[in-house]
Every structure is written in structure tokens, then in C-alpha cells.
């Protein structure tokens, strides 16, 4: 983990987080909405920020961390420069995304939830992005590709990784 020397209170980004909390009258039930804002801004849930959030909403830090770790959507680790999402919902599974996951492991040594050592690529597994009619679906930095064979899918990934810099 990188050491954090940031002073969140002086940070402009912190102001956006405060706005979210104020919109919910700084009530404890603003917590999940606030965590969404933190992750939108920083890309992950920075522990210093989480402590500040706990302070601001007057809830024990343990509860903040408890909530942050309960939900799949939240990540306590920074993401890489690029993100590949592989949908592993039922329709995508039946149509071969399990092979794509195995291939990512073999060729890029990444399992879902991991980020490459050079911090370039994060692999994320999604439960179903809701485009099941296009299964199998992958998202390269948010751009959806669907209805491709296993070979075509791996080509899309390689091409994207080659072009992405």
C-alpha cells in the first residue's frame, strides 16, 4: 500500500465527498452513497479518506470498513491504468466466458480482482452487466464487446491491450 500523506480536509476532492454527505444531511445512512462518491473520485476506497468519512458521519471506523468490505463493488486497493471486465453471469458463462477467464490466467497471469505488477491492467469479474442477449460480454475500459467466439474475444483483448497505452 502506498503511504498516504494527503490532508483530506484541504483537498478539493474531499469537498465533493462532503457535498454527498451534506446532501443526505450527514446522517449515518449516507454511508454507502458516500463510499460510491469516494470510489468515483479516487478509483478505490483510500483508508485515510474512510477514517475521515467515519469521523464526519460520526460512525465507528469499524462499521465503515465493515460496510466497505461487505459489498463487491467497493475496492480497498487502487486499480490499474486499464480495466478489463469479464462478465461471468449465467448467459455469459454458458457462452464461454469461463474459457476467457482461464485464458487470462494463462496468458496474462491475472485472476479476477488482481492488478498486474506494472499496474497496467486490472481484471474484474462482473456478475452480469445486463447485456445478456449479447453474451458472451466483456468490457474493455467500459466499452462493451459481445457476441464473439472465444478466439475472437481473445483477439479483441490483445488488440486493445496493444493499442492502449
Amino acid at each position: 500500500m502506498p503511504t498516504v500523506t494527503r490532508q483530506p480536509i484541504d483537498d478539493r476532492r474531499w469537498q465533493r465527498i462532503v457535498q454527498t454527505m451534506q446532501r443526505h444531511n450527514n446522517r449515518p445512512d449516507a454511508l454507502i452513497e458516500t463510499l460510491h462518491t469516494v470510489q468515483d473520485i479516487y478509483g478505490y476506497l483510500d483508508s485515510t479518506i474512510l477514517s475521515a468519512v467515519a469521523n464526519h458521519l460520526k460512525i465507528p471506523p469499524a462499521r465503515v470498513f465493515g460496510v466497505a468490505t461487505f459489498y463487491n463493488h467497493f475496492s480497498l486497493k487502487p486499480k490499474g491504468d486499464h480495466t478489463l471486465v469479464i462478465c461471468t453471469g449465467t448467459a455469459c458463462h454458458v457462452k464461454g466466458n469461463d474459457q476467457v477467464l482461464a485464458w487470462m490466467h494463462e496468458h496474462h497471469h491475472l485472476a479476477p480482482g488482481e492488478t498486474s505488477a506494472d499496474n497496467r491492467l486490472s481484471l474484474v469479474e462482473a456478475r452480469c452487466v445486463g447485456a445478456c442477449a449479447l453474451a458472451p460480454v466483456i468490457l474493455c475500459d467500459g466499452v462493451l464487446t459481445g457476441r464473439k467466439t472465444f478466439e475472437e474475444t481473445t483477439m479483441v483483448i490483445e488488440e486493445w491491450l496493444g493499442n492502449a497505452s
Binding site: D29, I32, E33, V67, Y71, N72, T90, A91, G130, A133
Partner: protein
């Protein structure tokens, strides 16, 4: 007073629309990728061909047949083009009013469209999801205006009860009964929740409804609030659905600005506000008590029921919680009267149901059919049969809480009862067609891994049981199982079903039990010893 304002918007918008000879509808659902580019290309083509006064390009919601997308619909001729790319734009605009482009044309009589019965999907793909005037011109908010002007809450409650509508979120609980309970409940304020968590992998009905006709969901919710006496509503929606969230925010703002939400709605004494709450990727948060805790900003752990949310829900107050599609059914039901819904479907399963038809069928997408339609008609007619060279093995319904219907039982009508009898469920409406290339053992192992990962861990049978069942299934997958494992598997499934605290654990064994019932041979074939061959076929 308010009526006049609405009527004026309708008249003006209609005049605007009538100016154009051709309307080009571009599907802008998630299932039609690159639709932004297609729309821009079409707009450019209109400019270069100087047709700004004659042709209107419009963005609309999902047209249903996502597998043929991106789709473009030309009105008034009702021509549908499939697989459209931005490069086709010039040609499409040039062909307007002349003969259609054969290369792109979808046959007008495709069973996929003609065999459906659209009720809640009626306006999907026909209006701009974010345009309030569009929804109004299509008859939107008329049910609400009628309700506020002429009906009392008990009238609505009676209509919903008489219609026989059942919740579309999974369990099929009678909607009228739930509403009446909340209306009667002591305590204030009363809350209203729209469950838009849609955690079932393989299902996207709710996403599509929210993206295609978000105003219709609001309208249903407002009418519900009036009927039960709620003043604050929440839409709990998955963070994985950013487009739906964005559209909801927009329509909530528009509704507020036009006095369809907020204080004294349409001049009545109804006050009702709606807030959006984002889910954060926990399947169990679709369960109502877990969802309520999540809105309260806590970990989404279910709690035992009773008390039911109708009596003690959000912050301990009476709370009405319904699924997206359930709310979407309300405006047409009030418009057409309860008999109309009651006359569709079967005796105990009334109305229509939206399904996400996916897997190994030719036509995949979103469909709506009257309850009671046979699975065979759905798969063969609407779905166009299996993809080339494959044969049907089973249809999986209800996601990780459901089961599979084998090919031999394809004449089963789709209703809550008939699916239950076969050990499956309607669920929220995921329908996955499975062919001979899939192994049932693999599929149930997949579902069990899902439930194991998503178990909240609060109760032991579910936390430990899902893991143990999953381990056993892996032994089957690796052909290392024994007859004792099979017995253990059945015993554990039974245990889980009967001792888990919430629906997740109670229903997690369903896929396994249903596969064991109809595809036992596949499990026996995974048993390493000779014992297997002695067991008689079921």
C-alpha cells in the same frame, strides 16, 4: 389547472412530431452497441441530404430483439433494420419514402414480434426514454391523473386485488394483499421502495424497463404511494446499471419540475418524493430485509420475517417494497381496469410476464408474453429455435433460485404453479436455453459457486452448506464422486432448504435438486465406482 398544462405539452409536442414525414428510431439500449455513433451518423446524413424539415432522428429504448441489433425502426412505415452500422446511415436516409434496403430489413412477420403480447413493454422502443412529452403523448401519466382526480385509495387497492396481479420480483406474492397490508399498517411515515437490484445473473428485464420507460416506473410508484399513504420513496438500483441510473435521475427531475412528483402532486393533497440509492454489488441485497438495511447504510444482512416490511420496514416504519416490473404493471392496469389483467394468463397467474430470453436460441432479447404460454412456443417460435446444428437440452428459469425444465417437458405452460410443480420457479424472469454442449453438472456447480460467494454468512447452514455442496459438485465434475457423495449431496440440499434464514440459502439447492431430478444420469456418470451402474434410471 394542472390538466391544462399537461394537455398543452401534449398538443405542442404532437404538433412538433407531426411536422416530420419520417421518424427514424434508433435503439439506444445497452444491447445495441455503438448506437450513439449510429445516431450521430444518421443526423449527419439528414444534414447533408438537407432533410432537416422532413426527417426526425430519435433515440428510443430497447426494441426487444437485441441479438439482431443495433436496430433502427422507420416510422410510419414500421420498417425495422437490423445490424445497422454508422456506415449505413447515408443509405438509410436516402431510402426514406422509397423502397426499403433489403440487406438490412427484418421480416415484418417475424414470430419474435407477432407472438408476443406487450403490456409493460408496450412503449419500449417507441418513445425517447428521457422525454416527458414523449411519454405524455403516448398516454403516459393519464392513469395517475385519473387516479388522483376520480379514485380514492380504497378503489385502487380493490382494483389491484381484483386484477390478481402478483409480484414480479420472484416470489409471486399477491400485490393487492401487500398494498392493503401497508395501507392498514399503523405507524408513520410510510415508505415505499422500488427493488431495482436485479441480482440474478442472466436477467435484464428491470434494467431494460428502467432504461426504456423510466417514467412508467415513476408513475406506478406514485400511484402506489397514493394507495398506501407513503410520502417518501426509494429506488434501490444496482451500481452496475449506470445508464439506467442516469436516466432515472433525469426523469425524476423532470417529473418534479412538472409537479408530477413532490408537494401536492397535480394539485392533489398527495406529497411524494423519490430518492435513488445505489446498490454496491451484493446479490443478497435483493432480498427485501437486506435491501432495507442497505438503504439504512449498513451491511445488507437479512433478518427473520415476520415482522414483514409491510409492518416494520425501513427505520422500523411500514414499508411497501415491490419489484420494478410490478410497478410497471400498475398504470396499464388502472387504465384498462382489473378485468383486463385478470382475463390474460391463467387462473392463478394473471397478466403478462417479461422474460430475458438468452443462451443457445437464435433470437435473444427481451420478450413479454401472456402467462400460460407454453415453453415450446417461447423457445421455438419467439426464440426461433436453437442455434444451427444444436439440440435443446433444457430451459433454465429463475436463475440461482430456480431450476431447469428438460426438453421432454417443453409443453409446460409458463405459470407460477406449473413451474413450481417441476421444481423450478418463474423467478424474476431469466430464461436461459441450454443445448447438448453444456453439462448440467457444470451449470449447477456454477450456480452453487455463485450462491457460496454471495452468501452473507449470517447463518451457518447457508455459509457452510453452500461451500460443502460446491465441493461435492466439484468431485462430480472431476469424476471422482461416490454413491455416498450423492447421498450427502441430497441430504445437504434438503438441510439448506429447510434451515436457512433467508431466501438465498433456502433456494440455493433448487438448481441442484432439479438437475438431480431430470438429469440424474449425468451425475451417476460422474461416479467413479461400479455402484453407479447398479442404480436404476429415474
Amino acid at each position: 389547472m394542472h390538466r391544462e398544462k399537461i394537455d398543452r405539452i401534449i398538443t405542442e409536442h404532437r404538433q412538433f412530431l407531426d411536422q416530420f414525414n419520417h421518424h427514424v428510431f434508433v435503439c439506444s439500449g445497452l444491447g445495441c452497441p455503438r448506437n450513439d455513433e449510429i445516431r450521430r451518423a444518421l443526423e449527419r446524413a439528414v444534414q447533408t441530404q438537407h432533410l432537416q424539415d422532413a426527417v426526425l432522428i430519435r433515440k428510443v429504448g430497447c426494441m426487444g430483439l437485441c441479438s439482431a441489433g443495433p436496430l433502427v425502426l422507420i416510422q410510419p412505415q414500421e420498417l425495422m433494420y437490423q445490424g445497422v452500422q454508422p456506415e449505413d446511415a447515408e443509405e438509410i436516409i436516402a431510402s426514406l419514402g422509397k423502397s426499403p434496403i433489403q440487406r438490412l430489413l427484418l421480416p415484418a412477420d417475424l414470430a419474435f414480434f407477432t407472438r408476443q403480447h406487450k403490456n409493460v413493454l408496450r412503449l419500449s422502443g417507441r418513445i425517447d426514454p428521457e422525454s416527458l412529452p414523449d411519454y405524455l403523448v403516448a398516454g403516459g401519466y393519464q392513469a395517475l391523473l385519473k387516479t388522483l382526480a376520480t379514485l380514492q385509495p380504497p378503489d385502487i387497492l380493490r382494483s389491484i386485488q381484483d386484477s390478481g396481479l402478483r409480484g414480479r420480483g420472484g416470489a409471486g406474492y399477491p400485490t393487492g394483499l401487500k398494498w392493503a397490508t401497508v395501507a392498514k399498517a399503523q405507524g408513520s411515515p410510510k415508505y415505499l421502495i422500488c427493488n431495482a437490484d436485479e441480482g440474478d445473473p442472466g436477467a435484464f428485464m428491470d434494467r431494460s424497463l428502467l432504461e426504456s420507460t423510466p417514467h412508467a416506473i415513476l408513475e406506478g410508484m406514485i400511484m402506489a404511494a397514493y394507495a398506501v399513504g407513503a410520502s417518501q420513496g426509494f429506488i434501490y438500483i444496482r451500481a452496475e446499471y449506470p445508464l439506467a441510473v442516469q436516466r432515472l435521475k433525469r426523469v425524476i427531475r423532470d417529473a418534479e419540475q412538472n409537479n408530477l412528483l413532490g408537494h401536492s402532486i397535480c394539485g392533489s393533497n398527495l406529497n411524494f418524493h423519490i430518492q435513488i440509492r445505489l446498490g454496491a454489488g451484493a446479490f443478497v441485497c435483493g432480498e427485501e430485509t437486506a435491501l432495507i438495511r442497505s438503504i439504512e447504510g449498513k451491511r445488507g444482512l437479512p433478518r427473520p420475517r415476520p415482522p414483514y416490511p409491510a409492518e416494520k420496514g425501513l427505520w422500523g416504519c411500514p414499508t411497501l417494497i415491490n419489484n420494478v416490473e410490478t410497478y410497471a404493471n400498475i398504470p396499464p392496469l388502472i387504465t384498462h381496469g382489473p378485468e383486463w389483467c385478470a382475463n390474460l394468463g391463467t387462473d392463478k397467474s394473471r397478466g403478462t410476464k417479461v422474460f430475458a430470453l438468452t443462451g443457445r436460441v437464435r433470437h435473444t432479447g427481451l420478450i413479454e408474453v401472456p402467462m400460460g404460454m407454453r415453453l415450446r412456443e417461447i423457445v421455438d417460435d419467439i426464440g426461433g429455435g436453437l442455434t444451427e446444428g444444436h439440440t435443446l437440452k433444457a430451459v433454465q428459469t429463475g436463475g440461482p433460485s430456480g431450476g431447469c425444465i428438460p426438453a421432454a417437458l417443453l409443453d409446460t405452460p409458463v405459470s407460477y404453479e406449473s413451474l413450481n410443480e417441476l421444481g423450478s420457479i418463474m423467478g424474476s424472469g431469466g430464461m436461459i436455453v441450454i443445448d447438448e454442449t453444456s453439462s448440467m453438472v457444470d451449470i449447477v456447480t456454477y450456480f452453487m459457486a455463485f450462491c457460496r460467494d454471495e452468501s452473507c454468512g449470517k447463518c451457518t447452514p447457508c455459509r457452510v452448506g453452500t461451500a460443502q455442496i460446491h465441493n461435492l459438485l466439484i468431485k462430480f465434475q472431476n469424476h471422482r464422486a461416490t454413491m455416498a457423495d450423492l447421498e450427502m449431496l441430497e441430504w445437504l440440499c434438503d438441510l439448506l432448504k429447510n434451515t436457512s434464514l433467508c431466501g438465498l440459502g433456502q433456494s440455493a439447492p433448487n438448481p441442484v435438486l432439479s438437475a438431480l431430478r431430470f438429469f440424474r444420469r449425468e451425475f451417476l456418470d460422474c461416479i467413479a465406482t461400479e455402484q453407479a451402474h447398479e442404480e436404476v434410471k429415474p
